[in-house]
Each structure stands twice: as structure tokens, then as C-alpha cells.
Symmetry: C2
Subunit: 148 residues, 2 copies
């Protein structure tokens, strides 16, 4: 069931419901809308961008944040802090592991699939990027907490 981008609205709706249930989340209108959007468009998007993309007044912003946090906790969605005071969110498709590059000036975000840093940097240089920096961070449960 690895439909990255089901073409039909209906398929996406069904996938949303399945994914939510798999994670033990009840299937509500806002959750379907938000997750549906993230399945349909690639992002990463800020909470504000997500709200603007949804039908007007279909979701309160508090609801959007609550849903996104649940999606992150259940690993349906990944967060990144490409801009320093705003999180971005993106559907976590395990078959399309990738990373981002953001322009320090115009903030344009692009994705790439390479995963060895020297190769990545070489490719980015070839594409014309200058002044490249990267940040790699791991998140896990430490041994102490895993036992407790």
C-alpha cells in the first residue's frame, strides 16, 4: 500500500482514514483534511500555509497545530526547522526518504534524495548553490529512558 500520490481524491481519502486508524487516531474532518493535503502536496509547509491551503474556515488554527503534533508524535509527519521561528511539516513517506535545502536569502525550499553528505554537497555545488552549510540531528530514546 505504498501509494505516494493516489490520483483520485477518493483513494487519498481512504488512505487517510487507514493511516489515521493504524495510528490509533479517530477519523475526523480536520484530520482528514490536513493529512489529505499533506498526501496530495509535497511540502514542507508551515502551519499557516496549511491553513491557507484548506477550504476557508474549515479548521481552526489550534486544531491544525494539535493535529500536526499528533501526526508528528505518531510519525505520520516529519517536522523541520528550516526557518528559525517556524516549523515546517511534511508527510513522512518511508519509501521516499529525503532532505531539504533552503536558500538563506529567498527561503525557497527544495528536496533531494541523496543521503551521503559529500555526494550531496557536490551535487548542490553543481546546481549553483553557494555557501553551503548543513545540520544533521538525531532524535531517539536513550538507554536510560528506554529502561525506565
Amino acid at each position: 500500500m505504498s501509494l505516494l500520490n493516489p490520483k483520485k481524491e477518493q483513494e487519498r481519502e481512504a488512505l487517510c482514514a487507514t493511516l489515521l486508524k493504524e495510528k490509533g487516531l479517530s477519523v475526523t474532518a480536520p484530520r482528514k483534511l490536513i493529512l489529505g493535503l499533506l498526501l496530495k502536496e509535497h511540502g514542507p509547509f508551515s502551519a499557516e500555509e496549511i491553513q491557507k491551503k484548506l477550504p476557508k474556515n474549515s479548521c481552526d488554527q489550534a486544531t491544525i497545530y494539535r493535529c500536526l503534533n499528533q501526526f508528528v508524535e505518531t510519525q505520520l509527519v516529519n517536522t523541520s526547522f528550516l526557518e528559525k521561528d517556524m516549523a515546517h511539516f511534511e508527510y513522512n513517506d518511508p519509501h521516499h526518504h529525503h532532505h531539504h535545502i533552503i536558500c538563506k536569502i529567498c527561503k525557497k525550499i527544495e528536496s533531494f534524495h541523496e543521503c551521503l553528505m559529500e555526494k550531496i554537497e557536490t551535487n548542490l555545488l553543481r546546481k549553483g548553490y553557494k555557501d553551503i552549510q548543513h545540520r544533521l540531528e538525531f532524535f531517539a530514546v536513550c538507554e536510560t529512558c528506554a529502561k525506565g
Copy 2:
């Protein structure tokens, strides 16, 4: 004034001044204190932690943020968003490139020097970490902005 290592203390002060001048920043008391701390202790630290570590009332928090931002702009310091609503700062020692792992529960932060992801993950698993995720992000100036 460290009683333990006056020689090193002096060296650090001199290094601070040199680093600041190299980056075109004037040498002020707050900048010496903050950069000095980051040279002495490894971090990464939040702005609040930095303030607490400095002599009481030696720096306003606005000054701390302003200095840290200048240090980041001049690449004297690196930022990370290990916790979602708070930046952490660390001296950017080009000879000690490394990354971090934060426990999802207790928030303890550790550093490591490996830089190939499979190797890193294997090592972390060996150390007892579970449920490992990572985030790798690049920051650069894109071709368009480099021309403009």
C-alpha cells in the same frame, strides 16, 4: 575568573578578541563573555542557559540574543533546533565537526563525530538508543540569489 586555569582563561580571552575582530565585530564585554563561555563549555546551550551561566546581570537577554545572532551570521556559532521551540547554540569549531542526539524523553543532548549515517545509526543502537530518527538539513545561497 577561573581559579583552575588562569593561563587558559587568558588564552581564551585573547582568542575571543581575535575571533571577533576577524569577523569584523567590535570587541565588547558581552561579546567576550558569551563567546568566551561557548569556547570554554561545549554546549549546545539555549539562550537562557547561557544567561544563567554568565555572571549575574552581566548581560541583558536582548544583548545575548543579538550577540548570538551575530555569531551565527558570521558563522562563529552554529544553531540547532533540537527542541522545537528553542534554539541551541554552540561554538563552530571547524576542526571538530560533529552532530547531536537528543533523547525524546529526557532531552539529554550528546555529541558524536561520525558522519556517515548508517555508521552513526549502528553506533547509536550499540549505545542503547531506540527509536532513532534523524533530520539533515542544508542551508545555502541558491543560484538565483547568488547572481542577484
